[in-house]
Symmetry: C2
Subunit: 344 residues, 2 copies
DNA sequence: CTGTTAGCGCCTTCAT
DNA sequence: ATGAAGGCGCTAACAG
């Protein structure tokens, strides 16, 4: 029933109450073995009596570590992103590190964060999600004085940064190959802009896989079968409607993400095309809604990618890794109800 | 090309280089007006020369403030939650405060966080999303020595905590009333458990609104028209399928969230019921996918709720509010294509 | 206007 | 095994 919220107890208060030096209290807190059982329990008693909790800020200053990990992430309402973040939070929760999140919705903010967040006065480590460094970012990031792990992001000239990625070229190939196997020859690809200010690269790599699969099957690439626009369901819908009005319209569409695949499904519905009878559709990611829609897609390990990134980061706190890890997570083709062999 | 990442410059280095006392540097950093233009620019020169950035940890210790805000949130992959979080991040980004996020997926963690996070050694303020305090939480939270804002959470006996809520009773009433106006008399309500370990309360309040609307129209409540289960699309689907097999099955369903409404739509599809001809469906939230599905729903201001909560929190840093705010955000009925007047 | 000094709370030697 | 003391980098109060 105390009225004024009195100041929290400090290590000094504990020392006084337990009648020990404050170094001893510190040792008890940090579980140093070299404290006699007797004094240790005296200290513990004082701690719980005073409801003492060590001040994290003071601890950080003294340790020279922030006990904090930053995640820099674009558009964290996108399902694929939140699932990764969930994995990150999940792994970090078991550690002593706090997770601080920076959401990127503009290029300016992206640049600001890449320059200012990875500093060791600020955080102990940085996770960068789905934002591949541009050429000019590489030296900045490689020179950063804190460990960085890229998740779903990459750059060819990286020599010092750890990465957890998925082989998007392979994923694109597998998706396209699935369609080809079903007998499709006119296969469209719907994606966000292959070149974009944020430098999202996954659509680019998936596109490469798409083209490889095509040429592997002797099918020439036709640029009118590639539609690109902003990311989003409606944009995808608009793009694909154009494509579906061609004389020799595609019989199958590979969408660069499940979200975009939803737009394709919507377009088909509007145009009175049955899926998969008249049009096969395959997505990418296997976000939660994909199963609901019965969407055939390429699954990637979203949650696990976040977990794995944290593991790598925490490891690199212990010891600088001999050479940077580039871990490639597998993809898996999930066949549901939106793809079938070409009928008409 | 320096090999060893040298230690970051400190305020002392700047002072030395600029040939001033370090108090002066501090003043320049903190934009104290009482520094002559001349020395100020000398200091600025030194700062940029040394690439100096103040150490946040030291700053925090000295200020006695953490410059950090925590968000405690359940299941942050749920669209309604991420949209709120986005609003929070958005507003906080313009401030000097860092956002640290705690995701709750178990009751144990929920309790742990509620007890341990709201301490002023740890954070300057706490946002709690969609987790209404239980009776035993109220004293803990009210006694906390940092400002707390509840978002989409409430408790009748709260006297000191700020809240940003939506009138879910009203929302439930509006949704149900819409159905009644369309001529429906047999109206089902699908929700997650009204009583649950996390103490999510929104479904409970929406249920109250549902019942009020019914009795207002002279329609008796029938418990077999209320299905509750875990939150989720599939669970909702399962529930509603039972209901739709009754002899006098409902002609309309009010789902406590858009996600659950999706399950209802799926069930209808499976059972060969046309929406809205055979079954009207209304959801709640107006998450992004709702528009795509043409789902009639009750919109709440998700993003804005996060922004508003941050505003209130920041205000309460300046001055303890005379009395706690309880801000009620409006809801809006969004009529789309899944509700129509009762036909058969 | 500006330099100096005393903490902020903790960790970590260094003695004892 | 334990106490004392110095320092982490910064802010703020106090002299000048």
């Amino acid at each position: 029933m105390e009225a004024v919220p009195s100041k929290p107890a400090t290590i000094r208060d504990v020392a006084r109450l337990a009648e020990v030096g404050l170094g001893t209290v510190s040792r008890v807190i940090n579980e140093s073995p070299q404290v006699s059982k007797a004094t240790r329990s005296r200290v513990h008693k004082a701690i719980s009596e005073l409801n003492y909790v060590p001040n994290p800020t003071a601890r950080r200053l003294s340790l020279g570590r922030t006990m904090t990990v930053a995640a820099i992430t674009p558009f964290f309402t996108r399902p694929s992103i939140t699932e990764r973040l969930r994995g990150i939070e999940n792994s970090l929760a078991e550690s002593e590190y706090d997770l601080i999140i920076f959401n990127v919705e503009t290029v300016a903010r992206r640049d600001e964060l890449i320059r200012e967040v990875p500093r060791r006065e600020r955080v102990d480590g940085v996770l960068i999600l789905s934002l591949s460094p541009r050429d000019e970012d590489v030296p900045i990031l490689e020179k950063a004085d804190v460990p960085i792990v890229l998740v779903d992001a990459n750059h060819p000239s990286l020599t010092r940064l750890n990465r957890v990625i998925v082989d998007d070229v392979e994923g694109g190939r597998v998706a396209t190959h699935h369609l080809i196997e079903l007998g499709h020859r006119r296969i469209g690809y719907i994606s966000d802009f292959l070149d974009n200010a944020f430098n999202f690269t996954s659509s680019r790599y998936r596109f490469q896989g798409y083209r490889q699969a095509l040429s592997g099957a002797g099918i020439p690439f036709r640029s009118e079968y590639h539609g690109q626009s902003e990311h989003g369901r409606y944009e995808a819908e608009r793009l694909v409607k154009i494509m579906l009005n061609y004389e020799d319209r595609p019989t199958a569409i590979f969408a660069a993400s499940d979200t975009q695949a939803m737009g394709v499904l919507e377009a088909a519905r509007d145009l009175g095309l049955r899926v998969p009878d008249d049009l096969s559709v395959i997505g990418y990611d296997d976000i939660e809604v994909a199963e609901y829609l019965g969407l055939t897609t390429v699954r990637q390990l979203l949650f696990e990618s976040g977990q794995r990134a944290v593991e790598i980061l925490l490891e690199s706190f212990e010891q600088t890794l001999a050479e940077p890890l580039c871990e490639v997570l597998p993809t898996e083709l999930i066949i549901r109800k939106t793809t079938s062999s070409r009928s008409g």
